[in-house]
């Protein structure tokens, strides 16, 4: 019941950024350069939701509220959702489906290359996010695959750092949060090695498909 309520709340909160963009767009309030606003906003929310997804593990261990793992899948899928919107903004509103220009961009512009890489790596994670896929892959292999989210999050931060003109403050805030989240895992991993304890692997029940 607790989980169900939390999931509904998170689901609604995750839709707020999109709803805000929609409403503002409808009222012509997206400013002088609406496409830029849409690009930045969807990019920001992709990063925020990636970091939120990555904070679930430390949060549940530190608070001993192990049940909150149940919201991780939804957060991850919302990160992918905003990533898709961000990517769509690029291919449609920025490049107008000019495949040649996009390929050139991906090859030539480091920040596009790394952003594209981060996005592409999220696709298999979104596809295999169901309980069925955990069963099919087996917990260990599934877990190994889903470690790709670390690469995506790092790629996202680098994408942002490489694209700003001079003001690095915002991308560095993301970098700092990501650094803390990754450092936590490293510490746990090293401590675990010392204790020779087996790392628990997720079971379909624990990661479970949402009931919502």
């Amino acid at each position: 019941m607790k989980l169900r309520l939390l999931k509904v709340a998170i689901f609604l909160v995750c839709l707020v950024p999109l709803a805000r963009l929609g409403l503002k767009g409808l009222h012509g309030e997206l400013g002088a350069n609406p496409i830029e606003v849409i690009t930045h906003s969807t990019g920001d929310w992709t990063m925020i939701l990636l970091l939120a997804t990555l904070s679930i593990t430390p949060l549940r261990m530190l608070t001993r509220q192990y049940w909150i793992i149940g919201v991780r899948r939804m957060l991850g899928l919302f990160a992918f959702f905003y990533g898709c919107l961000h990517f769509t903004t690029y291919i449609w509103l920025d490049k107008f489906f000019d495949v040649h220009a996009m390929l050139q961009d991906i090859a030539k512009r480091k920040f596009i290359t790394v952003g594209f890489l981060g996005f592409v790596l999220l696709i298999p994670l979104a596809v295999t996010s169901t309980a069925g896929w955990i069963r099919r892959l087996g917990g260990k292999r599934w877990l190994a695959l889903h470690r790709l989210i670390y690469v995506t999050a790092i790629a996202g931060v680098i994408h942002y750092i490489w694209l700003v003109k001079a003001d690095l403050r915002k991308p560095l805030q993301y970098a700092l949060v990501l650094g803390v989240l990754l450092a936590y895992r490293l510490v746990v991993h090293l401590a675990g090695k010392g204790n020779r304890k087996k790392v628990p692997t997720p079971t379909p029940q624990r990661v479970g498909v949402s009931e919502v």
Binding site: L21, G22, G25, L26, H27, G28, L30, A32, D167
Partner: protein
Amino acid sequence: MLIKKGGEIPSSEITPKRLFFSRRTFLAGMATAGAAALTELGLRDLAKPAMTAQANAKIDGIQKSSFSTTETITPYKDVTNYNNYYEFSTDKYEPAGLAKNFKTRPWTLTIDGLVKNKKTLDVDSILKLSAPEERIYRHRCVEGWSIVVPWVGFSLSTLLKQVEPLGKAKFIKFTSLADAGQMPGLRAPVLHWPYVEGLRLDEANHPLSLLGFGMYGEVMPNQDGAPLRLVLPWKYGFKSAKAIVKITFTDNQPVNSWNESAPSEYGFYSNVNPNVDHPRWSQATERRLGEFRKRPTLMFNGYGEQVASLYNGMDLKKNF
């Protein structure tokens, strides 16, 4: 020097108002997935740009200029709410609010360096040097967006004549105000303050180079660089320094702020050039604010006929 008149824009280039607004409507609608269900008519009413009621003083006796383009002028609201003005903020939507109480009087401009008569002039005496002209120029930001602005000012050369440069003077350094009390952006070490820009003497004396003090027939809004700014339509926007307090004639090429910050990305010349990409993004196209699709960027921002001769024999890929 033979000066060609402002390039006439073929009427096919001008965005018809109807199309311009329907693009806005489309943009507005596109933002919401569900908006497709709404009628065109309803959307159009909702998307009407809000009127801005700013009590800016009108400038009297403005003369027309043959350098003006006939392209659709970007709405006042956009040009005054979307400003790259790092002394206030690196967020383009913030200078409009943060510069509200910026003091543009009293204001003096010092002209020094390699000149016969060093001078410190009051801004109001500068404004009396010549009749104000309206120059409707294209303005292209290095970030890939552009606007069309009806600036008010007069040729920079009118001011520069006042001080009789020495023969050794080859360049001019422009220094913007850096007043931490008024400009919150200065707290961040994003660039070395004060902001400095530079031009070759012949570039500064080119008839297109404008000393701007107004736009849309009114006194320049603070967020757009009041009380005095440069307007150099064939160069990327950052060359057109705002809130100028000092002009120094030098014999060596000044280091401009963006060049100092990232020498491989921003050169001294920074002429608009679709063939020389910014190392991190293409400069081949630009988004004109208010338009949906990007448009191709023109060499020297379309002012090649007038300014290309300034760079004869220069490798523009090297001197970017």
